[in-house]
């Protein structure tokens, strides 16, 4: 199929998704899709992603469409440069199909915190698709695009991938350039990928990975070679961290994990129990570290440099800052800025921020010891429950944060991890998470390809 035909078909699917009320896109147009197809058609050689339409989370900057981070404070902002990831995807022949809805500034676990309305779950519109990359996840799950970019700070790709029944891959920290990713938590942020299959996600990750002189936190190594799915898992030791299988785990998730463990065993891997005791503290650690970094990163949105401006009652510059930020940021972003400012403020820094940094070191050390002890990969549930109902957790921020209980320790440790669909519970997808040692993304993807082949992601688990 020609790029022009793919562009037309993708446009029709985007229009259908919009008409169905998915609310997964913030910006797309047939004219931009056609221009992308023309550009790809004129490339002298077909790239590895030739003609693949890819949706981009709206916190990754592009020159041909606005980048708003789903926030009023950036309404109408158009970047003068492309993110490195976008430049590399375009060079590989991909077509940028749409900018996807998200939780405002990537803060949320349900994509209910977008200033432009919540995203619906493609299988049940009364439920959430997860977050914060919920728009990207919904577009892939609804079959609109085969792959999409999201971003992870504390699980914002793996968690919605699990809720939506697709593949979500968070690479090792430093594997993909963040140049052009709007900063949230700089010691955590990773551009990450959704795919309908492990191979789709791996090909996108391969095309955009590798050192970037414009991002000094990228590891000075070349792009990731796209691994083929392993024929089996013989010789691999897969660790099951006991803290990730609590007695009160949702029965549907537990059943999904049982069939995944059986499949891994059937593929020839040895399953061993391990312990990651400090993962119990991952959520509180994350909700100190990430808001602290966010409070610093979001200080730049002041009504002077970006987006709309609001003059305060006093008419001076500080009143302008306060009024612009007070009206431009939504409730969840304001809450996190306040928490981040509080934990960094005089008298509380040692009690909260310094303490959290030390616990973070212990969490990372647990993973290091597990892998040093001879485990090749770790296997856990991705989420504690299937997709929850919209509005169920919006009144209690801590209840929302706990949706990330199995994903955010890995973000704190900077490790690669992915979620693959392993079945459905009463029609709702269940995901399993694979975690690998630092920079062993290829091993993780190759093993996931083998598991994907034998586990029916759309079969009921019980």
């Amino acid at each position: 199929m020609s790029a022009a035909a793919v562009a037309r078909e993708t446009g029709a699917r985007l229009a259908a998704a919009e008409a169905a009320g998915l609310n997964a896109t913030l910006h797309w147009s047939q004219a931009l899709l056609d221009a992308e197809a023309k550009r790809v058609g004129a490339m002298p050689a077909a790239g590895p992603l030739a003609g693949m339409p890819i949706a981009i989370k709206d916190n990754i900057v592009t020159t041909d469409a606005p980048t708003t981070c789903a926030s009023r404070i950036l309404e109408g902002y158009v970047s003068p440069f492309d993110a490195t990831a976008v430049t590399r995807l375009r060079a590989a022949g991909a077509m940028i199909a749409a900018k996807a809805n998200m939780d405002e500034f990537a803060m949320g676990s349900s994509t209910e915190h977008s200033a432009f309305g919540r995203v619906r779950h493609p299988l049940d519109p009364s439920r959430v698709p997860g977050g914060s990359s919920g728009g990207s996840a919904a577009l892939v799950a609804a079959g609109v695009v085969p792959a999409a970019l999201g971003s992870e700070t504390g699980g914002s790709v793996r968690q919605p991938a699990s809720f939506c029944g697709i593949v979500g891959v968070k690479p090792s920290y430093g594997r993909v350039s963040r140049f052009g990713l709007v900063a949230f938590g700089s010691s955590l942020d990773c551009i990450s990928v959704f795919g309908r299959t492990v191979d789709d996600a791996a090909r996108v990750l391969g095309a955009m990975s590798g050192h970037d002189p414009l991002d000094s936190t990228t590891i000075p190594r070349g792009p990731m070679a796209v691994p083929a799915a392993l024929p089996d898992l013989r010789g691999l030791r897969v660790g099951l961290p006991r803290e990730y299988f609590p007695a009160d785990l949702h029965p549907g998730i537990a059943a999904g994990m049982e069939r995944t463990k059986a499949a891994v065993r059937q593929l020839g891997a040895e399953l061993v129990e391990v312990s990651l005791p400090n993962s119990a503290y991952a959520v509180p650690t994350y909700y100190i570290v990430a808001p602290a970094e966010a409070a610093a990163n979001l200080a730049r949105y002041d009504g002077v440099r970006y987006g709309p401006r609001k003059v305060g009652p006093e008419g001076d510059i500080r009143a302008l800052y306060q009024a612009t930020r007070g009206e431009g940021f939504g409730p969840e972003v304001q809450r996190r800025i306040l928490v981040g400012t509080y934990v960094l403020s005089a008298g509380y820094y040692d009690a909260y921020y310094r303490k959290a940094q030390r616990v973070r070191a212990r969490i990372a050390d647990d993973f290091r010891r597990a892998f040093a002890g001879g485990v090749d990969l770790l296997l856990t549930p991705t989420t504690p429950t299937p997709a929850f109902r919209a509005g169920e957790k919006t009144e209690d921020p801590v209840a929302m944060y706990l949706a990330d209980v199995f994903v955010c320790a890995i973000s704190l440790a900077g490790l690669p991890a992915l979620s693959i669909p392993v079945g459905r519970d009463e029609g709702l997808p269940v995901g399993a998470q694979l975690i690998a040692p630092f920079f062993e993304d290829e091993r993780m993807l190759a093993a996931a390809g083998a598991i994907e082949r034998v586990v029916a992601g759309d079969a009921e688990v019980r």
Binding site: G326, Q334, Y342, S345, R362
Partner: protein
């Protein structure tokens, strides 16, 4: 540790964030809920000597110190609301208008 209305107003001022009076009680409740929750880190055994953990390269590689800029899709004049003689024009303090 309990956060009161004055604490929220103080932190909001540090964060350059206008907080409406009508939102204050809700924010006090939510911030207390969050701070009480993260306080469970006090249960982690003290380890005063542990280093903070940061992921990423052991040593940051700096690029060549050659003057240059990122190529822009549009020149600065096309990005700025107002631009003249190589400068971005911003409103004079005290004379700003709602855009």
């Amino acid at each position: 540790m309990s956060i009161g209305r004055d604490d929220v107003l103080h932190v909001a001022k540090l964060a350059e964030l206008a907080v409406h009076e009508r939102d204050l009680d809700r924010l006090v409740g939510q911030l207390n809920r969050i701070v009480d929750y993260v306080a469970q880190l006090d249960q982690v055994p003290g380890d005063g000597t542990a280093d903070a953990f940061l992921p990423g390269p052991q040593q940051v590689t700096l690029r060549e110190d050659v003057p240059g800029s990122v190529p822009l899709a549009r020149p600065p004049a096309a990005i700025a609301p107002e631009f003249a003689d190589g400068f971005f024009l911003v409103p004079r303090h005290g004379a700003m208008e709602d855009l």
